[in-house]
């Protein structure tokens, strides 16, 4: 029960006045970010990350910084549900499945019930995710302390192959997008030999492409351009929510306990293996529709159809931090941005964090419990306020969002060149999204590219260039084998279909 005592220690860190204040600030900012088109969890955190540079220099500041940023993430997860239900606009990709039943409910005048169900299920999903992190992550970290370069490379390989095997996009598009990320990561100074690569003699490329700029462009500008196609006005249902509706919905929710549990299980699994929140929410919705006795009514406004995707999305979003903390491999784009934050603050994510930075890790985990409670309170009480933000006309809010993105891109390196790159990434994000090139593996590859390459080269130095080192023992062999299986899964699945 070492976890429990560490967790109590963490609560004492997270409950300090500054950290509690940051928690609420983060949640409120996060919900706003989640509600606004073009600002989501990943790029919201990316824009605010540079502001934490000085905060992280103070004693205990790294913990405060991660609490602020992770609470923005929880807030954004909650915020996505608001726009899906009231406006039929998924603020985040993982809330697309919430629109299927959430919006019809709102049209029937049951917006309050849909919102309450969504927030409560989100909270439940996140709570399960945090419990999993609390008890599983020390074990995983302990286990990973034994890892050498080949093990780490095989974990990276597994992460990236999982994208190819489990993505619903065309495998070669996933591959192209991912490898583009690795290529962008390689630009700049080679971390091993110090040679300049792919800079073509330009000054601006010396430091390489920063993944924060890529995230702001791809998810921010790209998203705004996509939203524009739908037109300039948002039409939404009114957000009436009061104590009576909340209590009535809470009475109804226990009926769907099985759906919630299934959703949470799917979510945790998909969050830990890098599938992510989006497929988890769709999967959970599909499973719930299949097993519910009202399955044929799904899509016309079933509360159960809101419970299923929201529970899964939050469970996945939360548990995506488990591999990020224990192995240094993020399970989602937002987790990747948080990982980038740890690196910038001078922390080395991975198993050693649990040994050397106990305060940081357990302060963060404790803040996940508190942050989600704070989040539930904030969203239940302030929904009308947040919905009002979406009623600000697009011609006012769109340029302000672009300006915020530009400031965010500039502050990463204090370079105007990054602001230009943001627009380039924005156009790429628009085209990629429309053509079904997934963005998550691209971002993860930019973040992890250097580390993956370094672990590969270290392994090769150990084995004198012998590739069999990736099958040298049971552990690394299993990881590599699983990775290859996932990589070739689309081909295997195709062959199976042909044979039938």
């Amino acid at each position: 029960m070492e976890s429990l005592s560490s967790l109590l220690q963490g609560f004492s860190v997270a409950l300090s006045f500054t950290n509690t204040a940051l928690m609420f600030t983060g949640i409120i900012l996060g919900v706003i970010i989640g509600v606004l088109p073009g600002l989501g969890g990943a790029n919201g955190v990316a824009i605010l990350l540079p502001l934490t540079f000085s905060m992280a220099q103070t004693p205990g500041g790294q913990t405060s910084a991660i609490i602020l940023l992770s609470c923005i993430y929880w807030g954004a997860l909650f915020g996505g549900a608001i726009t899906s239900i009231l406006f039929n606009i998924p603020g985040e990709p993982w809330s697309v499945a919430t629109t299927f039943d959430g919006y019809p409910l709102a049209q029937k005048g049951r917006a309050g019930a849909a919102l309450t169900a969504a927030f409560t299920s989100s909270f439940f999903g996140a709570a399960v995710g945090v419990l999993v992190i609390t008890f599983l992550s020390p074990i995983v970290a302990q286990f990973a302390l034994e890892f050498g370069p080949p093990e780490f490379f095989s974990v990276y390989l597994l992460t990236f192959c999982a994208f190819v095997g489990m993505s619903k996009e065309a495998p070669f598009k996933t591959l192209a997008s991912m490898m583009l990320g690795f290529a962008l990561a390689a630009v700049g100074t080679d971390t091993v030999t110090g040679t300049l690569r792919l800079t073509f003699g330009t000054q601006a490329l010396l430091t390489g492409f920063d993944f924060l700029v890529a995230v702001i462009g791809l998810f921010g500008i790209g998203e705004i351009l996509l939203t524009l196609e739908e037109g300039l006005a948002f039409k939404g249902a009114s957000a009436k929510i009061n104590v009576k509706v909340v209590l009535e919905t809470w009475k109804e929710l226990p009926k769907y306990w099985l759906t919630s549990l299934r959703g949470a299980a799917i979510g945790c699994f998909m969050g830990i293996v890098p599938g992510g929140a989006t497929p988890a929410s769709f999967m959970s919705y599909g499973v719930a529709r299949r097993f519910s006795k009202d399955g044929d009514k799904f899509g016309n406004g079933q509360v159960e159809g809101v419970v299923a995707p929201e529970t899964a999305a939050h469970a996945a979003g939360t548990s995506a931090l488990l591999p990020m903390l224990t192995l240094g491999v993020p399970g989602s784009p937002t987790a990747a941005v948080l990982l980038g934050g740890l690196l910038i603050w001078g922390l080395e994510p991975g198993p050693l964090l649990f040994v050397e930075k106990k305060d940081f890790v357990w302060g963060l985990i404790a803040s996940m419990y508190l942050g989600n409670i704070a989040g539930l309170i904030v969203v239940l009480t302030c929904v009308p306020l947040f919905a009002a933000i979406l009623r600000i006309p697009f011609s006012v809010i769109a340029p302000i969002i672009v300006v915020i993105c530009a400031i965010g891109a500039y502050t990463v390196h204090n370079a105007t060149f990054d602001v230009y790159m943001m627009v380039v990434f924005g156009i790429a994000g628009y085209a990629f999204k429309k053509l079904g090139y997934p963005l998550a593996p691209l971002v993860l590859a930019i973040v992890l590219g250097d580390r993956a390459e370094a672990s590969f080269r270290q392994s090769m130095l150990v084995s004198q260039g012998d590739m069999s080192i990736f099958f040298a023992n049971k552990l690394v062999g299993t990881l590599t084998g699983l990775a290859l299986f996932l990589l070739f899964w689309p081909l295997i699945a195709w062959l199976i279909r042909r044979l039938r």
């Binding site: 070669f172 192209a176 429309k434």
Partner: protein, 168 residues
């Protein structure tokens, strides 16, 4: 948007698929070429600097070639509109000013450029009264100025106007 000329496709999927796949192929080829120049083989002490990116570039090229061929195979009846004329106009109405905006950031600094950008949007796309336009554009940037320069002590790019006002 019921006007037929507005829903006419500005660009079809096939064209878009081919363009993106072709572009990525060229990028992959550039990566391969530069990595080869640096050395992408095995040296006595393991892989050379260009080894990893060379194969990354190779995979980009191979996948893009396959995506290109798959794009060519899109049947005529399945070749939906990638973007309709009306939608494309809306997208360009934001994209083009944004490109001008980031260029202006380099010349005028971020605050003045942002004031012009927000004002342009509200006036030409939103049709707001001038006093509202000025209130929002100047107010937002004053807020950003105090938040970043004073509170977080993060200096943002400034241009000639700020130095004239003695703020730079």
């Amino acid at each position: 948007m019921s006007d037929a000329s507005e829903t006419r496709p500005a660009l079809r999927y096939k064209t878009a698929e081919l363009a993106v796949a072709g572009f990525l192929f060229v990028l992959g080829a550039i990566v391969m070429a530069d990595s080869w120049r640096l050395g992408a083989r095995w040296a006595a002490d393991g892989p050379q600097t260009g080894y990893f990116p060379f194969y990354v570039g190779l995979i980009v090229c191979i996948s893009s070639a396959i995506n290109f061929v798959r794009g060519l195979l899109i049947a005529k009846d399945k070749n939906r509109a990638f973007v309709e004329v009306g939608q494309f106009k809306l997208v360009l109405s934001v994209l083009l000013p944004s490109i001008v905006y980031v260029v202006l950031v380099g010349w005028l600094g971020i605050y003045v450029a942002s004031i012009i950008y927000i004002a342009f949007f509200m006036r030409w796309l939103g049709g707001y009264a001038w006093w509202k336009v000025i209130a929002v554009s100047v107010g937002t940037n004053a807020f950003f100025y105090f938040t970043f320069e004073k509170w977080f002590q993060v200096p943002l790019p400034k241009g000639p106007v700020e130095s004239l006002l003695g703020l730079g």
